[in-house]
């Protein structure tokens, strides 16, 4: 068991496990966001619960952070190692003949997602941490105390058309990343046989529908606010 992370297959497995975790998180994140379209109150209540429940804040949140960082760092480590495995590149390489663009460019879609996460943290996560843990305001209420602040803040962020555009582009990259990543993670943990054929379609659906959902939510709030 020892040293498993030093082996190529061990690292591949670890990438897959962190990916599963992140894909599950994404699903959960989406489920909460989608409530904002139907009911501001539900969204507010769920957000407040997620934002203040100690189990989530002190246990799950650090795990999530670790998962995100691990996935990125390992992704870069692997990329560097893989580059070393071929020091002279081909003068002519026809990658499109045998593999998808997504599979060959995970590092770039990943980097785009990383950049987006910077923005996302700047928009939501840093202010949250600041309000709750630095200023010590765990109430989740608006400044005037008239109700929960979460829905209001959400709407406010989607006013700027450029931010919405960046948001949409980032989710296109996420979709590309997932189009390869979803099934790749299953293959990495060894799930590729006659029983898993159905997973392929499910993976594609997940990779397209979830990011599309996020995009629709963003657009909904943008136009909803304007009108």
């Amino acid at each position: 068991m020892s040293g498993i992370l030093n082996s190529s297959i061990g690292r591949k497995f670890a990438m897959a496990l962190s990916a599963f975790f992140l894909m599950f998180f994404l699903l959960q994140h989406f489920a909460i966001n989608v409530t904002s379209v139907f009911s501001a109150d539900t969204f507010n209540e769920t957000s407040h619960f997620m934002g203040t429940n100690p189990l989530i804040q002190y246990v799950l949140q650090p795990i999530l952070l670790f998962g995100v960082i691990f996935h990125f760092v390992m992704g870069f480590v692997l990329e560097i190692k893989n580059k070393k495995a071929r020091q002279i590149s081909y003068a002519k390489n026809n990658g499109a003949a045998n593999s998808s663009w997504m599979s060959r460019n995970m590092i770039w879609s990943g980097l785009a997602i990383l950049a987006f996460m910077g923005l996302h943290f700047y928009d939501f996560w840093f202010p949250e941490i600041n309000t709750k843990f630095i200023e010590g305001d765990m109430s989740g209420l608006l400044a005037d105390g008239s109700g929960y602040r979460y829905y209001e803040e959400l709407q406010h962020k989607f006013v700027d058309i450029w931010r919405v555009a960046l948001y949409c582009i980032a989710f296109v990259f996420l979709a590309l990343h997932l189009l390869h990543g979803f099934n790749s993670a299953f293959q990495s943990v060894g799930a590729n046989n006659k029983y898993t054929k159905g997973l392929k379609g499910f993976g594609k659906a997940y990779a397209i529908l979830i990011p599309l959902g996020f995009v629709i939510i963003a657009l909904y709030h943008h136009f909803n606010h304007i009108s």
Binding site: S7, S8, G10, K12, N82, Y90, G95, N98, G190
Partner: protein, 248 residues
């Protein structure tokens, strides 16, 4: 057909190497790709130039000796074949064809298009066998019935010719299709299960030491493999490895 060839020339392992242009005329569409290179070499020798070195032997797609990265693909643009089975009818008059060696740090160039693939052999030395003596005094061949599906799947994995196209095609130069095929062949058969744990751990360890990259499941290897070895073999190796790691 008249063609322009851009061929990698490199005197020896220490030389830097470069692409050199050659013109070749009157190529018959019925020629195999290697026969076209034979004609080129005949011309070079007659001119007093050094012929292009390339690996080849059986010329019927089974020995795994021929290689070549042709127009950006291992064994060229056709599917399910090796370079020796590639025919010139796949190209058009006036085409420019890039011919490069299989590239990977673990496959250093020996000369021109000839590379050293002994890394594959060393992986096999580490565990590509069943530890049974060759005395012939084993049990009767029919003593253990083997499910036809398993036997056929093991056979399909075993048809790997060890050419290295998987490594050459992989953007990461990963050897996992090759190793996965060998691990699978034995893992699927009752005879091979006995030492399955040691086998997969040792072979993967050697594979990593040889400097091959990590598999990111692009699937390029499966597409370019002349024998159509399936990605399922990599998944099976992953499973075997993980369970072996937990046991061992």
């Amino acid at each position: 057909m008249n063609l322009t060839l851009k061929i990698w020339r490199q005197k020896n392992a220490n030389d830097k190497g470069k692409l050199v242009d050659y013109k070749i005329n009157d190529v018959s569409p019925d020629m195999s790709f290697l026969e076209m290179l034979d004609v080129l070499n005949e011309q070079l020798i007659n001119k007093g130039d050094d012929p292009v070195a390339f690996d080849h032997d059986c010329r019927e797609g089974i020995c795994g000796m021929c290689s070549l990265y042709i127009n950006g693909e291992a064994h060229g643009p056709d599917r399910g074949i090796t370079t020796c089975q590639l025919h010139m009818r796949m190209f058009k008059d006036g085409d420019t064809i890039f011919i490069e060696p299989f590239r990977a740090t673990a496959f250093p160039v020996i000369k021109d298009l000839v590379v050293d693939r002994t890394a594959f052999d060393r992986i096999q030395h580490a565990g590509g066998f069943i530890s049974v003596n060759t005395s012939g005094n084993t049990i009767d061949a029919n003593a253990i019935p083997i499910n036809k599906h398993d036997a056929d799947t093991a056979f399909e994995a075993a048809t790997c010719i060890g050419c290295g196209a998987c490594v050459a095609s992989c953007k990461n130069s990963s050897a996992m299709l090759f190793v996965g095929a060998k691990v699978s062949q034995f893992a699927l058969l009752p005879q091979g299960k006995v030492e399955a744990t040691e086998r997969v751990l040792n072979m993967v360890k050697q594979m990593d030491e040889e400097g091959f990259g990590n598999c990111t499941n692009t699937g390029a290897c499966e597409v370019e493999c002349p024998k159509g070895i399936s990605l399922e073999n990599i998944a099976r190796m992953n499973r075997e490895y993980l369970s072996a790691s937990l046991k061992g």
